[in-house]
Homo-oligomer: 358 residues x 2
């Protein structure tokens, strides 16, 4: 029996999301290196293994250490934190470790301090402007390659980009435009450097682009992560339908305020995260409510029911007047999260619709 | 050596914050029942015990269970989650447990299912409109008291309010106005019900009111929590000076983008939380940078350096052109959080300025 905020994972939906993305990569004949920061679970990782996936992406050396129990080819898609050189050396002694470099200082540090071999990607800014090198900055790219050429412990693996600005899109055409621009930036780099470095690859792969693009002929690898669960943000962007969202939070109702047309749930910022969404109809929201089925699965959205605010432990649900009488204290509400990566990171445990704890 | 995002606790500042609030309560001759949801640590709880504090507030039954190892008088300042009746009964068999009630359904449920005695507060909405009963709703208040009168396992402890709308204030006068309104609401309730229930108390205590009010003559108990650390939000409200903030996150620099006047740190939403602040000068921010001293303590704010955005693991720092050359990859930045409760909840561990791990 569910008594506290619980993250429910619809195993069928999740496996279908994984399978669909796997097929898409396979049909384009490119590598599929899924990002595991969303689920952060060895068990869910196993569902990828069953399909033959053998390389992954993570966003911290801590996550790489966790997954290295079962995976031996891991890209840490985060600018190398040189302060963690001991962890880098430990991992590099055991697995095929791929790091991200965007400065000469970082690669020079690795050159001096590595005790085992690593591969590295040069992180390219494809337009998101969060991290990465301007693709036209040949001096910096050349400088980095120069240092790696002189170091037998650092192999150049390729160029890696993340088109995170697709998260600002609200329709598929805009996503495709950004994706095509990113591909063009990366293929131009490939043409420029391939003669000297014949084996390198180009890697892209935000969830919106990977969900919407039909194929990936010109790139070598995709790294989407969020697609495993999807969420309301991805739905607003245009990446997925509501039906594809594979996680929901089940939260107990602790108070009902008919006059204010509000329900108070046990479920707050420490469960959902404070990530928010600017909904075209409701303004700032933190989740939407779905119909609960007889088992722990769920159906459609309940119109006009949404999480309007979150405190540390409380959530406030806006409920239409005509619906509020259907609920009582002690009922559960099933809520689709705004950002499934952050919610999963906070809750750290899933209850699957098959009744398993992960 | 610090290699990853680390929450640093300035032990001296924290103990001074605790001592100052303790003295204020003592001078007003009222009970001090600090809220422990901010620090969530038995060890920091010990610093209160040293002063003679013997009762506390928490915001979930899980936290009550954790603190019940060392505390035997705990108020769960959250509408009772009747689904956790087993935990309630277990705790009530061991400690003095105080619950919050705001509906007849909840107290009726307790009446039928309690196996040990609990006390309860009626939660009053003093104007925040998140939870609580309208103080003029005598029917509902009377109905709840009626049920408790007929149940030997439920003792009426008093009326409890939380003036969370002080968090919208931006100066001390506005805070005092809200505080005085809350006190007036509660004292009117006291006058109305004291004849029939001679022993009950009134409990208030958001951090802004408790920090700014000079004394608390007309109430019986305060329950502030955030004051133990304070943060940038409380500073903006007017609760504390920057010097009083007792926690800072130390985050490694992983990339520097001079052209964009930005530094990338290892430190994101999973470390700080996505809580944000509308700064009058910089717009939406997620933290501000302070000068690091030779040891792990810190000094003043560095003007115009702030966290402008957060992803899951990345933070982007806006840095003035003339300062950015002072930094290099591998340096640490010390950052004051927007909301210390959420940051502490995420990090779950402190490194004190005395070198202890908590």
């Amino acid at each position: 029996m569910l008594t506290k905020p619980t993250l429910i994972l619809d195993e069928k939906k999740c496996k279908k999301n994984i399978h669909d993305m796997f097929l898409k990569a396979q049909e384009s004949n490119i590598d599929f290196r899924p990002h595991f920061k969303t689920h952060q679970s060895l068990e869910i990782g196993g569902w990828f293994k069953e399909l033959g996936v053998n390389k992954i992406t993570v966003s911290s050396l801590d996550m790489a250490t966790y997954f290295s129990k079962e995976w031996d080819d891991i890209t840490v898609a985060f600018p190398t934190n040189i302060l963690e050189i001991d962890t880098i050396n430990e991992l590099a002694s055991r697995i095929n470790l791929n790091l991200l470099i965007e400065s000469q200082e970082s690669i020079q540090f690795l050159h001096e301090c590595l005790t085992s071999k690593v591969n590295f990607f040069i992180k390219i800014d494809v337009g998101y402007h969060r991290t990465g090198i301007n693709p036209l900055n040949s001096d910096l790219i050349g400088g980095i390659l120069q240092i790696s050429n002189n170091c037998d412990k650092i192999d150049f693996k390729g160029f890696l980009g993340h088109a995170g600005h697709t998260y600002q899109c609200r329709n598929k055409n805009d996503i495709i435009t950004i994706h095509e621009e990113s591909v063009q930036i990366m293929t131009q780099l490939k043409s420029k450097y391939i003669a000297k470095h014949p084996d390198f690859i180009i890697s892209l792969g935000d969830t919106p682009s990977c969900s919407v693009a039909k194929s990936f002929e010109d790139i070598d690898e995709i790294r989407p992560g969020n697609f495993v669960f999807y969420d309301l943000t991805q739905n607003l962007i245009g990446s997925n339908t509501i039906e594809q969202i594979a996680v929901a939070m089940a939260c107990p109702i602790v108070a009902i305020h008919e006059g204010r047309e509000e329900i108070v749930i046990y479920g707050g910022g420490v469960h959902f995260s404070k990530d928010r969404l600017d909904d075209p109809k409701y303004g700032t929201i933190y989740g939407k409510i779905v119909k609960q089925n007889e088992d722990t699965t769920w159906g459609d959205l309940i119109p006009d029911m949404y999480v309007k605010s979150l405190s540390q432990e409380h959530g406030i649900i806006s409920v239409p007047k005509q619906l509020i009488k259907n609920y009582k204290v002690g009922d559960l509400l099933f809520i689709l999260p705004v950002h499934s990566c952050m919610t999963a990171d906070l809750i750290k445990q899933y209850l699957t619709t098959e009744g398993n704890k992960i």
